[in-house]
């Protein structure tokens, strides 16, 4: 066992020695594996395999997917699971490089059955590693290289040797050009899903060849490419295309969308949002040619939609389930037409449609009773009346976003709370609600995501009510809920054990005691404590020891936090990936300890660490250059750090944001 985390040491010690009573002598491995299949929670599975050899062996053979959190355990894990593994996720191992990857693959040489490999953000892996992967895994079907900014044509060429590839994500592979795309297109002619979002070097020529060579493409993401109408023409020849994402293709206009008119109706989903040069007539032609369209996202294209567009929605009468119209001027009459035409609508996005009124919402929901998601972010005109009509009609509602709907009061939420019992997600950021609203919301026992940022009036009382019933809560945002104290947190920690993401920024009444309660949230992964001026290293240490899965932590402007807190983090939160310790009172040793020890660290913000001398910055960054992906530093350090260090950071795909900020006292 290479990878027993310290928290499980107890379980390991208590493991029964192999003896006659071993499970494997009673049940066959197949049976044990079958049992394991029924254990869904990964933590429970872990407990199982730690309990006896039988389960361990059964899992070794039976395990199909693996997400590696720490690079150092990779070879051991792969040796163990090589035989059965089909999905390998290495996206959390940014320090992975060609050597390590090739060596890890060599561990299971000859027996790999891998179908899917994710190397997202593993920018240390180059063409050599990929070539080794392709050689070792003949069954490879899916590869994810998104956000590997160093990936270019040679990497694509290495991948092109995997003839069986069906799924490939190359988002933000900045070095990829038409040549690399052509390599993939020719080599992997059976490609069904391809993402080349943000691959800015790709042009019409490459897309044209892709369309000619990969006729089986079903999903294509060409968002933000600098392609013209010609590409859309090429793409229109893809007979099996179902999903087309072309967000922000600003060189495509109505003429290009005309090409999508003459198709065989295979398209199911299209995203044309942020295509600046598209107008109503282009959208209309898309609708005309694709009556099977289920998802249509046309947000942020141009200000006003012509009424023709809404009447054309009649063509999609039965099929359309998702419609996003973000940023348009949508009048009440338009919403009525939508309601009349698209009765099967499940999701509607009206974010930033500032002209949406209560009346419009009423007309919409009167007909669209199947709506599950309604996004009304920044629809400032909406009042409680809109919420009442939603509550009356949409009994299946699961997600409601009301950020910045300032006119909404507690009363409106009463209706939502009582009527929409299946509500899972609600965003009430910047709505002037009080703790009374929490009483109504607590009726929604299935609530998973709750955002209450900037609701200044929410107090501990509200949190107590919430915690009493919303046991499934996973995400809670209390940004600047300044009334909240340690007692509220105590209630939350006691009631909502499943919380994974918690935002307590600028809840300035919180002290170390509150954090001690938070540390009971074992599943916590993302914790933001920005600007908590009463919190000290002691509280952070509590968090570190309690929340072992913590991967993101924001301690910006926690002025009292010093080296002690960082030592605790370095010691315990092995999975920590992002940390912001700007303005903290830490010294060089603390910084070095943190950066040097935490092996998963990717994103570090180190602004205004006035107690850290430049030499320690240098040492700490040298110790961690190969894992860091994002770094925020004061611009003054740019000339003080050695150029070689900066170059090495860049070479591993680390992006450094140099900020120029005078040291300011806490806001």
């Amino acid at each position: 066992m290479v990878s027993v985390p310290r928290g499980d040491a107890e379980a390991t010690m208590n493991r029964p020695r192999p003896c006659d009573s071993d499970m494997s002598t009673v049940f066959s491995l197949d049976l044990l594996a079958n049992i394991l299949d029924r254990v869904s929670d990964p933590r429970d599975r872990k407990s199982c395999r730690l309990v006896c050899h039988g389960f361990l062996r059964a899992e070794e053979i039976h395990r199909r997917s693996l997400r590696v959190l720490r690079l150092e355990v990779l070879p051991g894990l792969l040796r163990r699971y090589a035989a059965g593994l089909e999905c390998l996720d290495l996206s959390a191992c940014p320090a992975l490089d060609d050597r390590a990857f090739s060596a890890a693959l060599a561990a299971g040489a000859g027996q790999w059955r891998l179908r899917s490999v994710s190397l997202s953000r593993a920018s240390g892996v180059g063409w050599r590693g990929l070539a080794a992967l392709v050689d070792a895994c003949p069954r490879l079907e899916a590869v994810d290289l998104s956000h590997c900014v160093g990936v270019g044509d040679r990497e694509a060429a290495a991948l092109a040797n995997a003839a069986g590839l069906r799924e490939l994500r190359l988002d933000k592979c900045l070095g990829l050009t038409d040549v690399g795309l052509a390599k993939v297109a020719v080599g992997c002619a059976g490609l069904e899903k391809l993402g080349i979002k943000w691959c800015l070097e790709i042009s019409d020529i490459g897309i044209d060849l892709l369309a000619k060579k990969c006729q089986d493409l079903k999903e294509l993401d060409i968002s933000y490419l600098k392609i013209s109408n010609r590409s859309i023409n090429s793409i229109s020849s893809l007979g099996k295309l179902e999903v087309l994402n072309m967000v922000g293709c600003s060189f495509v206009d109505d003429e290009g969308l005309q090409f999508l008119k003459h198709r065989n109706n295979s398209l199911r989903s299209i995203n044309i949002s942020r295509c600046e040069n598209v107008t109503s007539s282009g959208l209309t032609s898309v609708i005309e040619g694709n009556s099977g369209l289920q998802k249509l996202n046309v947000g942020d294209c141009f200000p006003e939609l012509a009424s023709l567009f809404f009447s054309k929605l009649n063509d999609l009468k039965d099929s359309l389930t998702v419609l996003k119209l973000d940023g348009f001027q949508v009048s009440a009459s338009s919403l009525k037409i939508i309601g009349l035409n698209c009765k099967n609508l499940a999701k509607i996005g009206l974010s930033k449609c500032q002209s949406v009124t209560d009346e419009g919402i009423f007309e919409l929901v009167a007909n669209c009773v199947h709506l599950t998601t309604i996004d009304l972010t920044c629809c400032h005109l909406l009042t409680d009346r809109a919420l009442i009509s939603i509550g009356d009609q949409c009994k299946k509602l699961r997600c409601l976003r009301l950020e910045s709907c300032n006119l909404i009061t507690d009363k409106g939420l009463e209706c939502i709370g009582t009527c929409c019992s299946s509500l899972e997600e609600i965003d009430l950021t910047d709505c002037s609600l009080s703790s009374t609203a929490m009483k109504y919301l607590s009726q929604c026992s299935k609530l998973v995501v709750l955002k209450l940022g900037l609701c200044y009036m929410i107090s501990d009382e509200g949190l107590v009510l919430l915690a009493s019933n919303c046991k499934k809560l996973r995400e809670l945002d209390l940004y600047r809920c300044v009334e909240i104290t340690d007692d509220g947190l105590a209630a939350i920690a006691a009631g909502c054990k499943k919380i994974q993401k918690l935002n307590l920024c600028y809840c300035t009444k919180i002290t170390d005691g509150g954090l001690r309660h938070v540390s009971r949230l074992e599943e916590l992964r993302d914790l933001e404590l920005r600007g908590l001026c009463h919190v000290t290293s002691s509280g952070i240490a509590k968090i570190a020891m309690g929340c072992r899965h913590l991967s993101e932590l924001d301690l910006k402007r926690c002025n009292l936090v010093d080296d002690g807190g960082l030592f605790a983090l370095a010691q315990y939160t092995e999975n920590l990936r992002q940390i912001n310790i700007s303005y903290c009172s830490i010294s060089g040793t603390g910084l070095c300890m943190l950066l040097g020890t935490l092996k998963c660290l990717q994103d570090v913000k180190l602004v205004h660490l006035s107690l850290v001398p430049i030499e320690w910055f240098e040492i700490a960054l040298r110790a961690s250059y190969e894992k860091l992906k994002k770094l925020k530093l004061l611009i003054g350090l740019r000339n003080l750090l050695s150029p070689l260090l900066i170059e090495k950071l860049h070479s591993r795909g680390c992006r450094i944001r140099w900020v120029e900020k005078p040291f300011a006292a806490r806001r």
């Binding site: 920018s123 190969e626 070689l644 090495k648």
Partner: protein, 515 residues
């Protein structure tokens, strides 16, 4: 040029030149030729043998472009009798005539020498004789010196026409000073008889070449008469290539045209038009005409400046075709399936391309060589642009052409040039790939393979310097340093490198943990 070899007997050269100089002092206003001719005279004295080498065809041509001027001037002094001797058709058929002519000239010169002492008052007659001799010799000398290799199309017009064309552009007047500066000053240097020494003369010719270049530029700027005159040299050559190619379809019946064959030296000569006064060489007749204006007002008349036109030609134009002097070449008239060349430019380019060393090397790719400078220039326009290469080895200058090719052929893919990959990639990638190399060196791992297939054969070498820079903390990257087996050692679970730091902290945490 073999001119250097034919050094005239010094005595005769000196004698004649001194004599001419004397005369020129008297006759300067009317005798603009004299300075140059004094040296040419010296040459011609000892050159019977070399003259015979020049083929009659060449003589014919050079006579032709020389003729109009000679006719207009010499006729006045000596009458038409001497002109008849120079009938080009006779010349064409009679090789030996040239030799005779030279003897005649020699005789005249001898008679002049003999008269020199006692006939002082017959200055005019002597001058006329002198002019005849010098004029004749001038053209012979021109042949010897290196000229007459090619005739540009506009020269052909000159040779076929007698009637002056409408008018030269008035803007050409601006050239006056410039041309006189390069055409009028330089010849003065020729005045001393020592100049007759061939090596020095060659140097002067080089200077003239430079002047010609200037002249060309000026013409280009000032002359809006048309493309024919303003085209620069490379374009002319380019056109000639087309002629060359277009030849084969012509199918003139043998015998329906006149076949001329230029000698190697003439083909390779840089200039075709020479000033009869100062000897300066030009590539174009138009340039020469411009130049001539600097020699006196009589050259400034519209008639003198005009391009001689074809229409008024008294005789029907003779169809001329050219033969390559290289025996055995298909373009050589001895060849069974002789295919003539259409123009002298064709001859020039054909000869250079087929029978000369390719002395112009492309400075970009260092591999492609050319014998015609225009070909080099054409190549250079595209050299390095053929970066689009297919896996089958075919190269393309344009990406879309390559992708069209790839789309057409199953299994073909665009090749990734090993070196260019860095250059063409996004800045991020460039940096990444470059410094990854550095990284590999640094940490002591070298991937020996250059192709993806070699990726497994990893060459692991321990490097000493690697510990120097990035190992103050001794992390993963450095853990495997110096260890023999790399796959496992990379992952050795090591003690925290900060154990020396963490002792205190640990106690701190425990202290708080007790709370």
């Amino acid at each position: 040029m073999d001119l250097k070899l034919r050094k005239p007997p010094e005595t005769s050269s000196r004698a004649s030149s001194t004599m001419v100089n004397d005369i020129s002092k008297n006759l300067k206003p009317d005798m603009p030729f004299i300075q140059f001719d004094s040296s040419s005279l010296g040459y011609s004295v000892g050159q019977d043998r070399s003259m015979s080498e020049v083929s009659p065809q060449v003589v014919n041509q050079s006579h032709c472009f020389y003729a109009p001027e000679r006719e207009t001037k010499i006729k006045n002094h000596l009458g038409p009798s001497s002109v008849i001797d120079w009938n080009p058709r006779l010349m064409l058929s009679n090789l030996s005539f040239l030799e005779q002519k030279i003897h005649q000239v020699q005789d005249i010169v001898r008679s002049i020498i003999s008269q020199e002492d006692h006939v002082v008052d017959r200055g005019n007659e002597l001058a006329a004789q002198q002019q005849l001799v010098t004029a004749d010799l001038t053209y012979i000398i021109i042949q010897l010196i290196s000229t007459a290799g090619t005739l540009l199309p506009n020269i052909k017009n000159t040779l076929l026409s007698t009637d002056p064309a409408v008018g030269q552009p008035s803007s050409a007047m601006g050239m006056n000073t410039n041309l006189s500066s390069c055409g009028g000053q330089k010849p003065i240097e020729i005045l001393p008889p020592e100049v007759a020494k061939s090596s020095e003369y060659d140097e002067l010719m080089k200077d003239f070449d430079a002047c010609v270049g200037e002249g060309d530029e000026l013409i280009k700027c000032l002359n809006n008469a048309g493309a024919e005159l303003s085209e620069s040299m490379p374009i002319d050559d380019h056109d000639a290539k087309d002629y060359d190619d277009g030849m084969d379809g012509e199918n003139l019946p043998p015998g329906s045209y006149e076949v001329l064959q230029l000698e190697k030296e003439e083909i390779l000569a840089p200039h075709t038009h020479f000033c009869l006064i100062c000897g300066k060489g030009f590539k174009r007749d138009a340039n020469l005409r411009m130049h001539m204006r600097g020699h006196g007002d009589e050259y400034k008349t519209p008639a003198a400046l005009a391009k001689p036109s074809k229409e008024a030609s008294s005789e029907p134009p003779i169809i001329r075709r050219y033969s390559c002097p290289f025996v055995g070449c298909k373009r050589n008239k001895e060849h069974k399936k002789f295919q003539p060349l259409k123009t002298i430019l064709c001859v020039k380019n054909h000869y250079k391309r087929s029978h000369c060393d390719k002395s112009y090397t492309c400075c970009r790719c260092k591999t492609k060589k050319f014998s015609v400078i225009a070909d080099l220039k054409t190549h250079e326009k595209h050299c390095g642009r053929d970066k689009w290469i297919c896996s089958c080895g075919t190269t393309f200058s344009r990406k879309d052409k390559l992708f069209g090719h790839v789309a057409l052929f199953q299994g073909h893919t665009p090749a990734i040039p090993m070196d260019d990959a860095k250059v063409s990639g996004a800045p991020d990638q460039v940096q990444a790939s470059e410094s990854t190399n550095g990284m590999a060196e640094h940490t002591g791992f070298n991937f020996t393979g250059n192709t993806p297939n070699d990726a497994q054969s990893l060459d692991i070498k321990g490097a000493d310097d690697c510990q120097g820079y990035f190992s103050p903390m001794n992390f993963d990257a450095c853990n495997f340093m110096g260890l023999d087996e790399f796959p496992r050692s990379v992952y050795e679970v090591s003690e925290s490198p900060f154990s020396f730091l963490s002792t205190g902290s640990f106690s701190f945490i425990q202290r708080h943990g007790e709370n």
